[in-house]
Every structure is written in structure tokens, then in C-alpha cells.
């Protein structure tokens, strides 16, 4: 793959970010920076706001408060994709969608055929080019989506539980791919549940339980104490919850008074 020049500014900054549904926050006043080249795991119980945070980062849902500052293109792989698998489309065409930024609506993809084949080979799908997407297994389909991510060639890649329902060998292959992205200097953020996997492969971790519990080097974040605090999260909404008393964020302001946890390695 051609190397992308990685922009020097931090690709994603979160400023008092509050995201949620029907005014109920799923992410509550989160501050922090995803630095260029980070390999960051998002960890937390169900309902902790991991998917919501990724959707907020990519701009898929509006902010209730605060803001996300992005620089550069972001590739995003959702947990539950909206892909219609019955659509008569080949694996080649699905992966080729990743070339949109280079090919747009009209430019021919035939000259990129080699690149698409290489991306499919990189995820172990060589020989699958002409197969309709409806005939792939769940794991094979995930691999095809990873091939599309390769072709997107973005400096920032967000993955929402990319290994759910995937066999061990495929997970190893895909983790190797992610390590390769990290080595190329790309920024990768992945929501994950397997703590052993996070400890082994992800240098940085953000532990979420609607409020951020800890954000920093994985060994310092995934402590027994922090994990116990995350588990105590109440999943249910409180219908009678009071209106948040914190200040609304429109521009720069001092957020220290609000008493939320801050980025451990903010320096």
C-alpha cells in the first residue's frame, strides 16, 4: 500500500463532548485528545457509550453539547453495518468502494484492479473477487470490510467491535493488519471487549462507563479498581434525571470546575 503522509496535528480532539439520545447522555462531558499515531482501545461494559463515542467522532450523530475537532479523513467501520447483503454486488465492488476518495463517482476503477486484488489478498480473500457479497460468511464479510478500509487509506481508522463473531485465526490476521497500520503511523481507535487482547496489542486505553473512568497507557487504565468502577454503571436511563448543571460549551472555557475525569497523559 502507498504510505499516507500523516498530518502532524492531533487527528481528534474532544472538547467537553456530550453525546446521547433524547437528551439522555451516553457520553457525558468527555475531554481528551486522540494523538496522531495512537493505537487506542475503547473498553467498557455494554451501554458504556463506546459505539456512541465512535459515531460522534466520525460525525454520524450530532453532539448534545461540546464538540469534536477533527483534522483529516476518518475511516469508520460500524459494529452493526447497514449493508444490504442481498444486493447483487461482488466482493470486488464492495472493497472497491474504499477508493471513493480517489475515484469519485465517475473515474474508472479498472486501473485500480491490482490495488483491490492486493487489498483482498491482504485479508486472505484472494479468489473471492467475483463472489456475490450475499454468499460470504460473517467472518469473510468482515474481512471484505477490512479490505475496503485498506483501500480507503485513511490516516485515522475507527473500528467498532471489529472482532465480534470472528474465529481466532481471522482475529490474529486482522490484529496483524491493525499493527501494520500502527507501524505506518496511522491512528487506530477500536472498541473492544477482550481485555487480554487489549493488554497484548493496544498501548493506550480509554475505559468508559458513560463517564470516562480512565484514559492513558493500558497497564495504568485496566486496573482492578478501575474495572470495578466501570462495572457499577447503571445501564438504565433515569427518566427523572435533572438537567445537567454544567456549562454549555460553545467556545473555549475552563471546564475544571465540572469535576469530571480528565485525560491522564494530557501533558
Amino acid at each position: 500500500m502507498s504510505a499516507t503522509t500523516i498530518p502532524v496535528p492531533d487527528p481528534i480532539r474532544l472538547v467537553s463532548l456530550t453525546l446521547g439520545y433524547d437528551r439522555h447522555p451516553a457520553i457525558h462531558h468527555l475531554d481528551g485528545t486522540v494523538h496522531a499515531g495512537d493505537l487506542l482501545a475503547l473498553v467498557g461494559p455494554n451501554g458504556a457509550g463506546k459505539s456512541t463515542l465512535l459515531k460522534g467522532m466520525v460525525g454520524e450523530i450530532p453532539c448534545l453539547d461540546g464538540r469534536v475537532e477533527r483534522s483529516g479523513a476518518i475511516a469508520y467501520m460500524p459494529q452493526a453495518d447497514e449493508i444490504d447483503r442481498s444486493f447483487p454486488l461482488s466482493v470486488m465492488d464492495l472493497a472497491g468502494m474504499g477508493l471513493w476518495r480517489r475515484a469519485g463517482a465517475w473515474r474508472s476503477l479498472s486501473r485500480q484492479r491490482r490495488a483491490i486484488e492486493a487489498a483482498l489478498a491482504a485479508v486472505g480473500l484472494d479468489g473471492f473477487e467475483a463472489r456475490p457479497i450475499g454468499t460470504l460468511s460473517g467472518g469473510q464479510f468482515r474481512r471484505a470490510l477490512f479490505a475496503r478500509l485498506i483501500l480507503q487509506d485513511c490516516p485515522v481508522i475507527l473500528l467498532d467491535e471489529p472482532f465480534t463473531g470472528i474465529d481466532a485465526r481471522t482475529v490474529d490476521d486482522l490484529l496483524a493488519l491493525i499493527r501494520g497500520w500502527h507501524a505506518e503511523g496511522r491512528t487506530v481507535v477500536a472498541a473492544l471487549h477482550d481485555l487480554a487482547q487489549v493488554r497484548a496489542h493496544f498501548p493506550m486505553t480509554l475505559l468508559l462507563a458513560r463517564e470516562p473512568i480512565a484514559w492513558g497507557p493500558t497497564a495504568r487504565v485496566l486496573t482492578a479498581e478501575n474495572l470495578a468502577r466501570a462495572r457499577n454503571l447503571s445501564e438504565a436511563w433515569d427518566e427523572g434525571a435533572p438537567v445537567c448543571a454544567g456549562p454549555r460549551i460553545s467556545g473555549n472555557h475552563d471546564h475544571g470546575a465540572h469535576g469530571h475525569h480528565h485525560h491522564e497523559d494530557a501533558a
Partner: protein, 291 residues
């Protein structure tokens, strides 16, 4: 016995109005089925039915103002159809209610308004004209309109093809790489509307949907490749147009319903013998492969 090929072709050789009807229907056969293919792939088949009803008040308003005038009724139909499509699309994007529900709401409002308008002035004969079209009385203006719609549709589909396919398969992905999703969706809805307005001229509101959807659904029994679906659907529509018109002449039947019934017969035949999921294929199953 009469020669089947001769009797198929004879009316078109003999009569100018049959040739005009054929030209109009073939123009529609080229543009409406591809639009229908995308509609069925998006699981929006019934949306075109709703849209055909939504066109009625506009056409009726044109009729009230100018009588049975092609430009007035076409313009009215276009305005009403586009308004309903845009309103439903805009409300869907601004709220959490899904598009089919919004479309149902707006088309019912539009249809009721249309029936009200027609009853203000129309007679039963006018209503029949609305419902069943006037394919045997296509004048030059109507033919130009159908040809224009056909050309515009094919050009627009060629231009929009890639983002439209992406919008169908993975709208979320298209949103993350491009802002074209919204405009492409609305452009596609506009194509549905103009094709229905065209079909409304030839076949009437109730049956305009037939030439759009039946060939598209029938084609799915023949291929799984999107690039092949579109030409196959066009072919089926053209076949339905020729045989429907010819039969309507031979048996003295109303031509609009005859064309749609011909398309329906082709659909049933495809469902029976089509190689992709056809019924016969299910009964006669070749033994499975080794790998």
C-alpha cells in the same frame, strides 16, 4: 391458424396510431424499468405505487385549470410528485420516523386532495382517462415528452450510478466518505416521479407503476448481476409493450391494462422458469457439488 408473428406485427404496420403507441411505450420501457430495478433493490417497491397516487392532485389541478391539456397536467403531476417526494425525504432526514411512514402520510394527503379536485369538475369519463391512460391517442407532444423523459433518465442513471449503488448497499459508508448521499437520494426520487408522470400519460396513474416494477421484479429471476438486471428488465418491458399493444388491438381490449397484464404474465413466467430462484428450479434440483 393465423400466423402469430404476423398478427403480432400487423397492427403496427397498418396503423399510425399503433406505431405511435408502440414508440411511446418503448421509450417508457427503456427508462422506467431501470428505475424500478433500483426501487426493488432498495425495498421501496411500493413507494412507486404511493408516488403514483401522489401525482394525481397535481395532474387534477392542471386539468382544472386547462382541461385535458398535456403540458398543464404533466407540470401539475411533476410538481405534486416532487413535492411529496421531497417533503417525505426531508421529514425523514430531520426526524426519526422512517421514510416509508412519511411517504404514506404525504401520499394519502395528496391522493385525497386529488380525488377532491377531480370530483369538483370531472365526469366519470375524465376519471377513466386518469386511471387508464390514453396510450392509443399519443400526440407529438406526448411522444416528445416520453422520449425526453427516457433520455434524461438514462443520462441521470449513468451519472449517478456509482453513488446510487453505494447509497443502496451501504448508506452509512457513503455518508462517511461523501456528502453526495442526500442529493443522490433526492435525484433518484425525482427520476421515479418523472417516469411515473411519463407513464401516467401512456398508461394512467394506476398502471404507470406496472411498467416500472413488473419487469424489474421479473428480471431478478434471471440474473444476480446488477449490470445484467437493468438490460434484462428493459427487454422484458419492451416485450410486454409489443405483445400487450398487439393483443389489445386483436382482442379489442383497453391497451394500458393489456400492457401491464402482459408484463404480469412475463413476471409469472419468470417466476416459474427463471434460473435464479424460480419455482421449477426448486423442484428439479441438481445434486450438490463437492466443494
Amino acid at each position: 391458424m393465423i400466423d402469430p408473428f404476423g398478427s403480432l406485427v400487423a397492427p403496427f404496420v397498418e396503423f399510425g396510431f399503433m406505431r405511435r403507441a408502440l414508440a411511446g411505450c418503448l421509450a417508457l420501457s427503456v427508462s422506467a424499468p431501470p428505475v424500478g430495478v433500483f426501487l426493488t433493490l432498495r425495498r421501496m417497491s411500493l413507494m412507486s405505487d404511493a408516488m403514483s397516487h401522489a401525482i394525481l392532485p397535481g395532474a387534477a389541478a392542471g386539468f382544472l385549470v386547462a382541461g385535458l391539456s398535456l403540458p398543464a397536467m404533466t407540470l401539475g403531476g411533476l410538481v405534486a410528485g416532487l413535492a411529496v417526494a421531497l417533503l417525505a425525504g426531508a421529514v425523514t432526514r430531520a426526524t426519526t420516523v422512517r421514510e416509508d411512514a412519511n411517504l404514506a402520510a404525504f401520499y394519502l394527503i395528496s391522493l385525497a386532495a386529488g380525488v377532491l379536485l377531480v370530483s369538483l369538475r370531472g365526469s366519470q369519463i375524465d376519471l377513466m382517462h386518469f386511471l387508464f391512460g390514453s396510450v392509443l391517442a399519443l400526440d407529438d407532444a406526448a411522444l416528445w415528452l416520453l422520449g425526453g423523459i427516457s433520455t434524461l433518465t438514462l443520462v441521470a442513471l449513468a451519472v449517478l450510478y456509482r453513488p446510487l449503488v453505494m447509497e443502496c448497499v451501504d448508506p452509512l459508508f457513503l455518508r462517511t466518505v461523501s456528502r453526495s448521499g442526500g442529493p443522490v437520494h433526492f435525484a433518484f426520487l425525482a427520476l421515479v416521479v418523472i417516469n411515473l408522470v411519463g407513464g401516467f400519460q401512456a398508461l394512467g396513474t394506476l398502471l404507470a407503476v406496472g411498467l416500472m416494477l413488473l419487469p424489474a421484479v421479473a428480471a431478478r429471476f434471471w440474473t444476480r448481476d446488477l449490470g445484467v438486471l437493468i438490460p434484462v428488465s428493459i427487454l422484458i418491458a419492451a416485450l410486454a409493450s409489443v405483445s400487450g399493444l398487439s393483443l389489445s388491438y386483436q382482442l379489442d381490449l383497453p391497451s394500458g391494462p393489456a400492457i401491464v397484464l402482459a408484463a404480469g404474465a412475463l413476471y409469472l413466467a419468470s417466476m416459474l422458469v427463471g434460473p435464479r430462484g424460480g419455482l421449477l428450479r426448486r423442484l428439479i434440483r441438481p445434486r450438490h457439488l463437492e466443494a
